[in-house]
Symmetry: C2
Subunit: 160 residues, 2 copies
């Protein structure tokens, strides 16, 4: 039995995230100490690791819910799990194609900048005229973020 902080360290999740998953019903409410602190068993840790790994792979919580449902009922067919994974893979592949197209256009745009004033800026011009690109970059699906991106803190709004 371990406290939430220890579980966070073992799973790589953050403490509030674990509480959030409990609130979302992805894990059962764990037992508590007399003073009300959560106590987790190894099975809970495994379940949380499962969730974490699936999130790292970009699965949505709803998908993970279904996947967890299957692990709870091992006698069921795994067709659902397979379907979920295949759909997700297809989405990733589509997204890769779109991102490649984006990269191509953005590379072209960036290369064209020779410095100077904004009035002659090719970057801005290219952004303004969609005409220049051959409609090769379609609007793109939102992508489920994965766990723990510990990069730039949210930039404060700057106004002109």
């Amino acid at each position: 039995m371990q406290a939430i902080g220890a579980v966070a360290k073992r799973t790589g999740l953050k403490v509030p995230t674990i509480r959030f998953y409990e609130q979302e019903g992805l894990i059962d409410a764990p037992g508590r100490t007399d003073s009300g602190r959560r106590l987790y068993a190894d099975a809970d840790v495994r379940r949380l690791s499962f969730i974490r790994h699936a999130r790292t792979l970009g699965f949505e919580l709803d998908d993970i819910r279904s996947l967890l449902d299957l692990t709870d009922h091992p006698e069921r067919s795994c067709a659902d799990a397979d379907r979920i994974a295949r759909v997700h893979l297809a989405e990733i592949e589509q997204r890769l194609v779109q991102l490649s197209a984006l990269k191509t256009e953005l590379t072209r745009i960036v290369k064209s900048c020779a410095g100077g004033k904004a009035a002659q800026c090719r970057v801005i011009e290219a952004l303004a005229d969609h005409v220049h690109c051959e409609a090769d970059h379609a609007p793109v699906k939102p992508v489920k973020r994965a766990t723990q991106s510990r990069r730039a803190p949210p930039a404060k709004r700057r106004r002109s």
Copy 2:
């Protein structure tokens, strides 16, 4: 001068999105008819198209704000625009690498499913044991969604 619906059609944006951009200060509040309907000039349409294109390329609204600021001040150096585009390009490239890794692992996982019961399901097993993958897929940055993904409507929550 055109109504918001016509502008939506010309730019490919949705009507509420245009109002949202106005609220966010990305475009000036347009003139109104006597009855209070918005009326847009061609310059507004160009500005909205600029925003749309930049969003399609995955720029965040804050970046777009800076870019628009430059178009409003053509005498300034375009270094900012160049920097923003380069940073964004780097992010896209990083994301591509990560997505490729994800695709690799997910492909491996999906291929291993031979049907049958969940108890033996390789998909679920692979999801449970991060050990199987060589930590080749790092957690991934959230990705700015692009405009107008007209795919699956928000699935209603299903609980087991």
